[in-house]
């Protein structure tokens, strides 16, 4: 019955959503199977460390399960989960002590850049700058930027998930990007 409930935009089956909202663990398990990769990726983009991203992904699902009755059905479950996950990720990031972000120099990048450690280091530094700059944004700009770029959500989905009008979301995104303008200078300076 729920097999057809999934598509690229996430869960869109009223019966499944109702089952999840009613605390049906099996339905929630299906939600976990479907959405873990998306949530994990968003967390990883914010946190930069796979281990932290795993932790926060699990936290986000647990929070969602405990407060599932708080989901009012505005927007998709994926959007709701992403909001929880990004919020938790930024919270985790703010609690982190400043250390060398070696975890973020992942193997794929080492493979991409071959044996050029300088380029790898520069790319890692760029990513760290981007992460830090987004994390420093004030709300609600940070949330909109994170959902749009880290959660791969469309602006319409962000509007539905946050319950804000689409034009308001567009304005928030533009103001967020304006605040991130110095990033271009930094990133292009590194290249």
């Amino acid at each position: 019955m729920w097999a057809t409930a999934w598509h690229d935009g996430g869960v869109d089956d009223t019966a499944l959503i109702d089952a999840v909202r009613a605390g049906d663990r099996h339905a929630f398990g299906l939600l976990v199977d479907q959405e873990t990769a998306v949530i994990y990726r968003a967390c990883l983009r914010i946190l930069g460390r796979p281990h932290d991203a795993e932790d926060v992904t699990q936290e986000a699902f647990l929070i969602a399960f405990k407060s599932i009755r708080g989901f009012r059905g505005e927007g998709s479950l994926r959007g709701w989960l992403l909001r929880i996950a990004t919020r938790q990720s930024f919270r985790r990031l703010s609690q982190r002590r400043p250390t060398a972000d070696l975890d973020s120099v992942g193997e794929p990048f080492l493979a991409d850049f071959g044996a050029e450690p300088t380029r790898v280091a520069v790319a890692a530094e760029e990513r760290r700058e981007i992460r830090a700059a987004v994390a420093r944004l004030p709300e609600p700009y940070r949330e909109v930027v994170a959902l749009r770029f880290f959660g791969d959500m469309s602006l319409a989905d962000v509007a539905a998930a946050t319950g804000r009008p689409l034009n308001t979301v567009k304005t928030h995104l533009r103001r967020g990007l304006e605040r991130l303008r110095p990033l271009v200078t930094i990133v292009e300076g590194d290249r």
Partner: protein, 186 residues
């Protein structure tokens, strides 16, 4: 005031957006294969979200099950009870003066005649005791064993009328008394 109109084709903003897109595309790590099953296991172990505060309370109590924690919890409860009692007592004490004012009027009335009578009606209290001694001697010659009886009866008579007398005579003589304290209170 001088707000810049929205510029949808701001090239700088486009470049920032492009950087973010590039960043997101580069950070496409896949979760470990067992992450979803770990999360499902954690969700299965979580309490039923529909159970509400009772389950939360039970979970808290379960967490306090070890003896040391139990003792600590008991200590916390004792401190809470003692604190509540202390607060209650403080509140009572704070209310005490207000409650005392209601009985104080009689107590306050009785001094007021005694004080205000002092100058003019000082004679009025003095006559009221003086008749009672005069009556006791007069009663005692008539019946010698009577003294104990009359004196209590007199005392009773004296004491019972005294409030009424002091109230009545006080006010009577105290017509002026009332005006006195009234003026005094003012």
């Amino acid at each position: 005031m001088n707000r810049r109109p929205p510029d949808p084709v701001d090239p700088d903003l486009d470049r920032v957006a492009d950087e973010l897109e590039r960043f997101a595309a580069a950070e496409r790590g896949e979760p470990p294969i067992d992450l979803a099953s770990r999360i499902r296991a954690a969700v299965d172990a979580a309490p039923d979200p529909g159970a509400g505060w009772r389950v939360s309370l039970a979970a808290v109590l379960r967490a306090w099950r070890t003896p040391a924690r139990g003792l600590a919890m008991a200590a916390v409860l004792v401190v809470a009870v003692v604190g509540a009692l202390a607060v209650g007592q403080l509140i009572n004490e704070a209310r005490q003066p207000n409650v005392g004012t209601s009985p104080s009027p009689p107590a306050f009335v009785s001094p007021s005649p005694s004080i205000s009578p002092t100058p003019p009606p000082s004679s009025s209290p003095s006559p009221s005791p003086s008749p009672s001694p005069t009556t006791t001697p007069t009663a005692s010659p008539t019946a010698s064993p009577a003294p104990p009886a009359p004196s209590p009866s007199d005392d009773d008579e004296f004491e019972t009328p005294e409030p009424s007398e002091s109230d009545n005579s006080g006010p009577g003589g105290g017509g002026g008394d009332n005006s006195g304290p009234g003026g005094g209170d003012d």
